[in-house]
């Protein structure tokens, strides 16, 4: 038996592209709304910081605020300029990254390519544990345990290589210098760089490595000519993420650095340096409204700075792992 249906009455059923059930629609819209909350949070941070920072920018002028080098709330008119802190943050982060990168890469290499499985697991746990230590505990350790030791290292460095301008230190006071703050920051960012590098290493094609070994390469040439070029993108992304974290490091740096508005360009062993985040927290307690506004502006500068670095970093990391969608 055939059924004759006039052709104009056949409705092509549309493929389901939207959820039918109302409950599903609610489910999906709730999750979408939650996903956009991160967008909202970042927008709110920007709005409120900008709102509070505008008075400071108007009084000081944006260029003077960012690059000048006086911070005096008692002067008339009060002057707030961020230059030494901004440069100090960058200097400390660079020292931290320079120290952390070899440590992190060698730990990642050790875990992925050298250690046996059990040992690799233990080392991974240790690295994760290091990441879980709160920064204030590291600050306490840095101030009372590590600083004296590192001051000894700094002294050795100064005596053996003092003729290089950056290791010059006429005052012979080695505590609370950018060098020590940089090492403490390095301790904080080693786990970040190491875990990303390890992830990139572990996702590498083992056949490529084995091929290099089979062609007579040794571990070193394989590492230099095969592993490192393949993993470079991810490693650089990890390093940038570490850099972003280092720039925002607050309390750990506060205890091991002498914050000074007398700008210290590159004399890493001298006991004066700067850090935007630590400066904010140290000045906040006894700040008048004008100064609070300036501190908000400093926070805004720090936020925009780290946001840019982190976005670039996560873009690079995502590009380096095209198999993750």
């Amino acid at each position: 038996m055939t059924v004759n249906v006039p052709s104009e009455k056949i409705e092509r059923r549309k493929l389901a592209s939207k959820p039918f059930a109302r409950a599903d629609r609610i489910f999906f819209s709730v999750s979408t709304a939650a996903a956009y909350s991160s967008f909202v949070i970042i927008a709110l941070i920007l709005i409120f910081l900008v709102g509070r920072a505008i008075p400071a920018f108007q009084k000081q002028g944006i260029i003077d605020f960012a690059f000048g080098s006086t911070w005096d709330s008692a002067a008339t008119p009060a002057t707030f300029q961020l230059g030494p802190m901004l440069w100090g943050s960058i200097l400390i982060s660079l020292i931290g990254v320079v120290i952390a990168v070899p440590l992190a890469i060698s730990i990642a290499y050790f875990i992925e390519f050298m250690a046996h499985k059990t040992l690799a697991k233990i080392v991974t746990t240790v690295v994760d544990l290091l990441a879980a230590i709160p920064s204030i505990v590291l600050g306490l350790w840095g101030a009372f345990v590590f600083s004296p030791i590192a001051a000894g290292w700094a002294k050795m460095l100064n005596q053996s290589m003092g003729w290089i301008p950056i290791f010059d230190n006429p005052e012979q006071n080695f505590l609370r210098s950018p060098f020590i703050a940089g090492i403490v920051v390095a301790v904080m960012i080693v786990p970040i760089i190491a875990s990303i590098t390890r992830e990139i290493f572990s996702q590498m094609d083992r056949d490529v490595i084995n091929a290099s070994l089979a062609l007579g390469g040794n571990r070193e040439s394989t590492f230099r000519k095969v592993i490192l070029p393949t993993a470079a993108g991810g490693v650089i992304g990890g390093v940038l993420l570490g850099l972003g974290r280092a720039l925002g490091e607050t309390v750990a740096v506060l205890y091991v650095l002498n914050i000074s508005f007398d700008i210290n360009w590159a004399n890493v062993l001298q006991a004066k340096g700067g850090s935007v985040a630590s400066m904010i927290i140290s000045k906040f307690g006894e700040a008048n409204p004008d100064e609070i506004s300036a501190l908000m502006a400093a926070g805004l500068v720090l936020f925009v700075f780290t946001l840019i670095i982190n976005s670039i970093a996560s873009y690079i990391v995502a590009k380096a792992q095209p198999w993750r969608k």
Binding site: A35, S38, A132, V251, F303
Partner: protein
């Protein structure tokens, strides 16, 4: 009877991966090269009483590098020098990280243990001066405060993070890439900025005075990325077949999620929550800016100043007297113990997950 196809893989021939087989001669050299330099260095320290660091850098490292280079030369010829260097550098730098971590933990445990006593853990800080001896007063109010502040932000963050992870894994949303990048960028948000933000939004604008809940709000932006990312990983590990099976049986998406995906990813989500809490329990800067450290126990998150462990630590380091530093070490040990508990529970939770998958 039908012949069953043999599914066991072909055994690897003995000659496979010849580069990973080491000759006995090489093994002998390698073990000699790892024992002799250490023995020489230790011997020198024992005989001459040399400083350990100096011996490490002047005697041990150069000899170790030379020994490793010699082994490399015997195996690979002249290019073996770099091979030896790589091995020595990797192991030395890796153990350096171990030493740093060991030093941190040992100093906190050994210094903090002296301060730890029942009264230190249960009493609050009322009437306590920076130089009061350690028999009186403690961190009780701070532990309670920390737990309440972090608890409140967990209650807010976990549903938010879970729903974000659902968006990233279960839906066909178009802006997944942007959201993921934003989360990644947010995970690098300086903690002090988060504190400034909440201060600007609620305290500077006069909506409220210092209170516990402002601290909780300041912790949310720091906790959200961790919770969302780890949850996303956990949801991603659930096999697609399970989810599709539920959908094919006619379940609406939310039922498939609640009854199939969620139970399968349960332990991963627990790990995400624990890691998120561990991330923020020691955050200092936001709490210093948004909760005024109180000396008394305060059980109401929504009213009045509230002490917490990190702010306690912050204040007592700032006082700078011997007794106050001692208290700071004690509080640091308490924080570290809390972090360790969270960390170990997260490990246990994720271990049950890997077992369940097998």
């Amino acid at each position: 009877m039908e012949k069953v196809t043999d599914l066991t893989p072909v055994a690897r021939p003995k000659t496979a991966a010849p580069w990973s087989r080491k000759s006995p001669q090489f093994r002998l050299y390698a073990s000699l090269a790892s024992i002799v330099p250490a023995a020489i260095a230790l011997g020198t320290i024992a005989i001459t009483g040399m400083d350990f660091m100096a011996a490490l850098f002047i005697i041990f490292l150069p000899i170790q590098v030379i020994a490793a280079a010699l082994v490399g030369i015997t195996v690979y010829g002249r290019r073996g020098i770099l091979e030896g260097l790589l091995v020595v550098a990797t192991i030395f730098l890796s153990s350096f990280v171990f030493v740093l971590l060991g030093s941190v933990i040992w100093s906190v445990v050994s210094n903090g243990f002296a301060a730890l006593s029942p009264s230190f853990i249960f009493q609050n800080n009322y009437y306590i001066q920076p130089k009061t001896s350690l028999e009186f007063g403690g961190v009780g109010h701070s532990i309670v405060g920390s737990l309440l502040i972090v608890g409140l932000s967990t209650i807010v963050t976990v549903p938010l993070g879970l729903a974000t992870a659902v968006y990233l894994t279960e839906t066909q949303g178009k802006s997944k890439g942007i959201i993921r990048t934003l989360l990644q960028a947010m995970s690098g948000l300086p903690s002090v900025v988060s504190g400034l933000f909440i201060y600007a939004m609620f305290i500077a604008s006069g909506i409220t005075t210092y209170a516990g809940w402002t601290g909780s709000l300041a912790l949310i932006p720091l906790m959200l990325p961790t919770v969302a990312r780890v949850t996303e990983e956990a949801l991603r590990l659930v096999p697609v077949e399970l989810r599709n099976g539920a959908l094919a049986l006619g379940a609406p998406a939310w039922r498939a999620f609640v009854q199939v995906t969620l139970p399968a990813a349960k332990s991963g989500i627990v790990t995400a929550i624990l890691l998120g809490v561990a991330r923020v329990i020691g955050e200092t800067a936001p709490l210093v800016l948004t909760t005024f450290a109180a000396d008394r126990t305060n059980l109401n998150v929504f009213d009045g100043a509230m002490g917490s462990l990190p702010t306690y630590l912050f204040n007592y380091i700032a006082f700078g007297f011997d007794e106050s530093i001692q208290r700071a070490w004690g509080a640091a040990l308490v924080i570290l113990i809390l972090v360790a508990i969270l960390f170990i529970s997260a490990r246990v939770a994720s271990r049950t997950r890997t077992k369940a998958r097998k």
